[in-house]
Structures are given as C-alpha cells and as structure tokens.
C-alpha cells in the first residue's frame, strides 16, 4: 500500500526525472521502509517524503527541459494508472500555490496527530486502564512489597530525578486521567484546574523528591474534594508497565511461589479449648489457592471458635476474602468493598456445604501491618458484628478502584465506583480499622484465646 502511494507521488515529478531516477527513488523508498519499521521512524519517513516532495517537485519542473506539449495515456509503473499526463510543462503558479497549501495542511494534520496520539507523554506512555483488572484492585504500589500478591517492580537500576519535565509530565497525565476516569466529572475538572494552577504559580517547585511531589499533588486534588480514595503515588522502584501476572510465565511463577508458601496459610491448627487458629498472611488468588483454602477451613470445621490471625496479612484478592468469609455465615451476606461496584459477587456464597463454623465465635487479630484486603475482611466482619477484632488499628490501605500507571515512578488510584456502604459514611481508607479490643499486636493472640475461652465457658 505504502509503495503504491509513493509510486503515485513519484508520478507527480516530470517525466525526465522519473525516467532517470524513478526506479532508484522507489528503491530508496523501499530501503527506508524496510529499515524504519517502528511508529516514530515511519512517521518521520513520511514527513521527510512530504517535505521532500514539496521542495523537489517545483524545482524539478523549474529545471526540466521544455518539451512539446504532449498527452499520453499509459499504465504507470507499480500498477498505478496514469491518465492523460501533460509532460514537460512547468507548473502554473496556481498549481504550486495549491501544492504548497496541501503540504501545509498535511503537516498540520501530522502535528495535530502527534499532539493527541494516545496521551503520549515523553518516554512514558499513559495507558489508563492498564490495571483495570479487578484482580489488581488491591495491588497498588503502596502495598508493602513483601506481599505475595504485590506487583513487583523490576529494578533496572536507573536513577530517578524529579525535574521540571517529569513534574509537567506527571501533572499532564494526572489531568488526563482525572478527566477521563474520576467518578465525579465536575470535581475532576476542578481538580485538573487546581493542579495546573499550582503548577503555573510555581507551588510545586518546593517538592524536593518523588514522595513529596506525590503527596503535594494528592493534597492539591483533595483541596477540591476530600476524597481519601484519590491518591497520586510515587514508587522509588520502577513500576511495571503491565501487570506481571497477566503473562503465563508470571502466572506460573506466582503459582509456584504460592505452592511453596502453602498459599500463605502459615498455620492451621486447633488450640486448647478446641479453638481453631488460622494464620493467613495474604488473601491469595483462588485460581491458585482455592483447594488449599477449602482444605484449611475444612480442617477447622470442628472447632468451637475460630481465630483469624491477620497480623502479617497485607491483602490480596477480593475473591479470596469472599471465599473465606462465606464460612462465617449461613446465608449470603453483603460484604462492602470500596473498590468495587455492588454486584452479585458482593454477597458471600453462604451457606458452604458441610460447614459448621457459621455460628461459631470468630476473632480477627490485627496489627498496624494488616492492610488492604485484610482490612476489607476485618472491616466488614466487624461491621456485621460477626467477628471481634483484637489487636492494633490496621494500616488504612483502601486505595480505591483502579490503578493508573503514569510512568516508571508515578501512578494514580482513582475511584471509579460508588459501592454501597451500609455501615458508615467512612471506611478504613488512611484511618484504618479500629479493633474492638485494643491491645499490642504481640498480645493479640493470647487476648483472643482468653476471650474465646471466656465466651465458650459462658455457653
């Protein structure tokens, strides 16, 4: 196709030039097409050709020898028909003017295309929605990196410097993402204006590093609307361009790690007084860990009370939260998740066949490290008065909805959903989940055991 277009363009040259150099010019075009394959070199190639045509065609007509006017009908080379071509005559001034205007128009179109091509922002490409997969909703980079579910950036060892260009790039991308995805369009517009105004006033110059800059932009957005779920985050490690686990290799790696770690079900045992104890260090993907989870819960089925130890649990998959919570109810129960719209998946799949834990006392051990998905589990069971939380206030990780990568180091958490919170106007975002019984994390297990024991005795 490209060759045909260029062959047609070549036919605009005077016949003397075409006869002398047409095949060579075509050969050169083919050589460049072969060597300049990716998007930008190809774009540059076409720009070069347009400029070249605009300059060289009038010149060739100017210098081509005058020939008797002749009209010919023939089949052009490269399969392009050429109709009634008047040879050897200089172009009229009007035709040159028209050609110049056409070239300017083509250049203008290229310019507009370049300015709006896919939110291009220098070296990083904003691809909103890259992380829109529901399974990634807990996986913002602010999740501590030792969670097996976190997306681990690969450190390519490049030093990061926050310069003016990077700041502008982040702000421009944040404006685009806000306008496109933020749930409240009116506030999104205002936030975008505020970000740009602060930038224009030089207010962002004070930010010395990535963390300070991200915190500053987050504050600026929240000047418009105090939305705790809206964040702009900085990661010193390189953020992956695509979720790791989408590739089969990464999935295999994840499955292997889960197998090696028993799906992070660290301890499953029966404590004295027939109290079941489950130490779970993440909420792993059911696609890899469903059978492990079911086996663990089955082995605790005969317990008179159950303790979920989430002190080292930093979150994971909402589906696993729902799977385990299902054992605590004898009917489908609504579980609020600030990051997902209310769907049929917002209800537990209770009752679980053969399960006898639905009416047993439940305790959840928490710490300051308890995070994200673990807070989802703790918050809902506390609000539903189905479990007693023992320990410390949790970490407060409710990065909402969809994570949008801006570049190697910056990204945004954007609430795109408005799920129903039947319990309260606030959730655990940044403030954490308050335990029912506040004790040091180290003392939480003993406290919960005692609480369970006392309760069982009263029965």
């Amino acid at each position: 196709m490209s060759e045909k277009i260029y062959a047609w363009l070549l036919s605009l040259y005077p016949s003397q030039f075409r006869e002398a150099y047409g095949s060579e010019a075509m050969q050169l075009f083919r050589d460049r097409m072969r060597d300049e394959k990716s998007f930008f070199p190809r774009l540059r190639l076409w720009l070069d050709l347009i400029i070249d045509l605009a300059i060289s065609i009038p010149r060739e007509y100017r210098y081509s020898p005058a020939a008797p006017y002749a009209v010919s009908v023939r089949q052009g080379s490269y399969g392009v028909p050429v109709f009634h071509f008047i040879e050897g005559r200089s172009l009229r001034p009007g035709a040159i003017l028209f050609g110049s205007a056409l070239s300017c128009l083509a250049l203008a179109i290229f310019w507009v295309f370049l300015s709006h091509a896919g939110n291009y922002v220098g070296l990083g490409i904003v691809t909103p929605g890259q992380f829109e997969n529901d399974s990634n909703v807990f996986q913002s980079q602010s999740q501590p990196s030792d969670s097996p579910n976190s997306i681990r950036p690969t450190d390519r060892g490049e030093a990061f410097t926050l310069d003016v260009l990077e700041r502008l790039r982040v702000i421009d991308a944040a404006v685009v993402i806000l306008k496109k995805y933020y749930i409240d369009h009116e506030n999104a517009q205002k936030m975008a204006e505020v970000l740009l105004a602060h930038e224009k006033n030089g207010d962002d110059d004070a930010a010395a590093d990535g963390d300070a800059f991200a915190a500053l932009l987050t504050r600026q957005m929240r000047e418009v609307s105090p939305d705790r779920h809206l964040t702009l985050d900085y990661s010193p490690d390189l953020l992956p361009e695509h979720p790791d686990r989408e590739s089969p290799e990464a999935l295999a790696r994840y499955n292997a790690v889960m197998k090696q770690q028993n799906c992070t079900f660290e301890k499953v045992e029966i404590l004295p007084n027939n109290v079941g104890y489950l130490k779970l260090n993440s909420f792993p993907d059911p696609s890899a860990c469903q059978s492990t989870a079911k086996a663990a819960m089955a082995s605790l089925n005969g317990a008179d009370a159950i303790i979920f130890d989430l002190r080292d649990n930093r979150g994971g998959e909402p589906a696993m939260v729902m799977l385990i919570a299902a054992y605590l109810f004898d009917h489908p129960e609504y579980m609020y998740n600030p990051r997902e719209n209310t769907t049929e998946h917002s209800w537990t799949r209770s009752p679980v066949p053969g399960n006898s834990l639905a009416d047993k006392p439940a305790y959840i051990l928490t710490s300051h490290s308890t995070f994200s998905g673990a807070e989802h589990f703790s918050y809902d069971l506390k609000m539903l008065k189905r479990a007693t939380l023992v320990g410390e206030t949790t970490g407060g990780g409710a990065h909402s909805g969809v994570w949008h990568r801006i570049d190697d180091h910056f990204g945004m958490g954007i609430p795109e959903t408005k799920p129903i919170n039947p319990f309260s106007t606030t959730d655990w975002a940044e403030i954490g989940v308050q335990p029912n019984v506040k004790v040091k994390a180290a003392a939480a297990l003993a406290t919960a055991e005692k609480l369970a024991q006392d309760r069982l005795r009263k029965k």
């Binding site: 040259y13 030039f17 002398a20 150099y21 060579e24 010019a25 075509m26 050969q27 050169l28 075009f29 050589d31 460049r32 540059r44 070069d48 050709l49 400029i51 070249d52 045509l53 300059i55 060289s56 065609i57 010149r59 060739e60 100017r62 210098y63 081509s64 020898p65 005058a66």
Partner: protein, 116 residues
Amino acid sequence: MPKRKLDPLPSTAFQILLSLIDGDLHGYAIMRQVAEQTDGRMRLGPGTLYSSIQTLLEAKLIDHVDSREDAKLGPERRRYYRITSAGLKLARSEAERLADLLRVARTKKILRGRYV
C-alpha cells in the same frame, strides 16, 4: 530552461560530495552517509537526493560508475556514484572557504567554547 546552480555550492551537494570521498556509494548509502555525517540533521529525501545527483552529474563533479548489488541490502542492482577529480577539487575549495569563514568568525569572537 534555467540552469541548475552550483555557485555557491548548495549544502546538499557539498554533503553528497563529502559522502563520496571514502568510496563509491549508491543512492541509499549516500543518504545514510549524509545523515551520519550531519548527526541526523540532514535526511535527504529521494527527490532532493536525485535532483542534487543530477546537478552534480551534469557538472561532472560525480560520475555514474556501474550498477551492482549491495550484499547488505539484497539482490537488487543499484547504481553507484563516484566523486570525480573536479568534484574532489570543488569539495576541497568549499571546505577551505568554510575554514576561512570560521577564522573570520573567531577573530570577531562570536564563538564560545571549543571549536575545531
């Protein structure tokens, strides 16, 4: 018909002459060589390139040598060009003219930093 001018020598023609100093080249190789020696600032399109080649051929500053394959680019035959002694002489005098110009510029102290 107006005659193509080579006085003063257009920069495109000068660059093409320079590209042929080290040996015979075909059109695409000339384009690449010119791009390389100008750090990518001058990328000759086919029209400009062959128009300049035509001018240089007419002025006998370059010559058409033969047509042969370029092993690196495939079996297609390509026309090779060679700089003539007149071309070499003109390139040298143009370089000297530019060197003179540079000397004047230096004496006027309009240059900063190190220049060769």
